[in-house]
Symmetry: C2
Subunit: 83 residues, 2 copies
Amino acid sequence: MDQIARTPKDIGTVLRNARKAQGLTQGELAARAGVWQRTVSNIETSSSGAKLETVFDLLAALDLELHIVPRSKMKPGDLEDIF
Amino acid sequence: MDQIARTPKDIGTVLRNARKAQGLTQGELAARAGVWQRTVSNIETSSSGAKLETVFDLLAALDLELHIVPRSKMKPGDLEDIF
DNA sequence: CGCAAATATGATCATTGGATCATAAAACGT
DNA sequence: ACGTTTTATGATCCAATGATCATATTTGCG
């Protein structure tokens, strides 16, 4: 049940979920990541073309990392890909 | 053995590995992703602050997706984290 | 060794993100 | 319902990306 991202918007959503799961406000996360609350807000909503660097700063502040894997790698139990 | 990225540079390396694994040249990947060979080269070498959007274009062209997971998630057999 | 293919880079311009100030608007608790 | 906390946005400036042209290098192969 890890979070998957295929678009910038996905990243925004994942970031927001992770932040809330850790009970952090945008301001707190921003402080930890060394960016502004403004930036966190922007990325969580419309992270269109956010900079990779900033995204990694946020991921690090949330103790997350990216795993790059082939798309629709079927795991046992994933039936959706069959139909 | 998926590829892990914690920094922009990691992404560059992963992208390059994936591209070569698929026997593509920078130019071919660029064409598929709708960007310039120049951009692929830049991102593979010093993807410092590349735009998220561009990175996703490249990932899509390589049929890859991102899984966002907690850092140092220990898997059976990973002993490094113990010491 | 020499040529062809692939990759790295130079330069310019437009666009956009992030830094930074601030405040409006929305969400939440009691 | 009210007030406080949190999030969304407005505006400006600067740095840096990507688009786009081209060419210098490097790599790989016969």
